[in-house]
Symmetry: C2
Subunit: 106 residues, 2 copies
């Protein structure tokens, strides 16, 4: 679903990735990371899709919240597994969301 | 592919959407919009994936470049078609990319 984020300003982390063909533990860990992120202070939501590339955007109240999530112990292990096993290439972009607008069909 | 963006700061537009089941003209228009965006001054790249939701992130040099793209004539028509035909729900977030880092397997 589209994340129900509050009025800006807030932060977004855009994580774009290319996968290897190693499937072991990937989906299980991805689901666990969502579960853990949702428990982090300052978490506001996330959106994710994968076709030829994967894009996951997570939303946060502050840079401090993003930093804490990056350093969460189980997440650090997942990041290491990501580099060793699951990804050939990724890019993480830390962004300040300055403005948003939307549309919803009645 | 993962967009080869320059050193931050630069801007990102995160467009998250849910589709209707109306396929007519959608893919053709989406491809045309990429072609047009690439010709816009200040365009830096884009990334896109769709599963249960679609996420398209486009990258830009400035807010001015984003505004000019939003108001591009053919793009305005596509936005209108989007609301009338292709999307049940979307959200657009305008972001300042403050920092990025990545990983690439050798």
């Amino acid at each position: 679903m589209i994340a129900a984020t509050p009025q800006p300003p807030y932060y977004a982390v855009i994580f774009t990735s290319l996968r290897t063909d190693i499937a072991a533990d990937y989906h299980q860990t991805a689901m666990r990371m969502v579960e853990l992120a949702e428990q982090q202070p300052g978490y506001l939501g996330h959106e994710s899709a994968r076709e030829s590339i994967g894009i996951t955007v997570s939303y946060w109240q502050s840079l401090e919240a993003i930093k804490n999530w990056k350093q969460q112990t189980e997440h650090l292990l997942a990041q290491q597994m990501g580099r060793e096993q699951w990804y050939t290439h990724y890019k993480t972009r830390i962004c300040l969301v300055q403005r948003d607008y939307g549309f919803e069909k009645i």
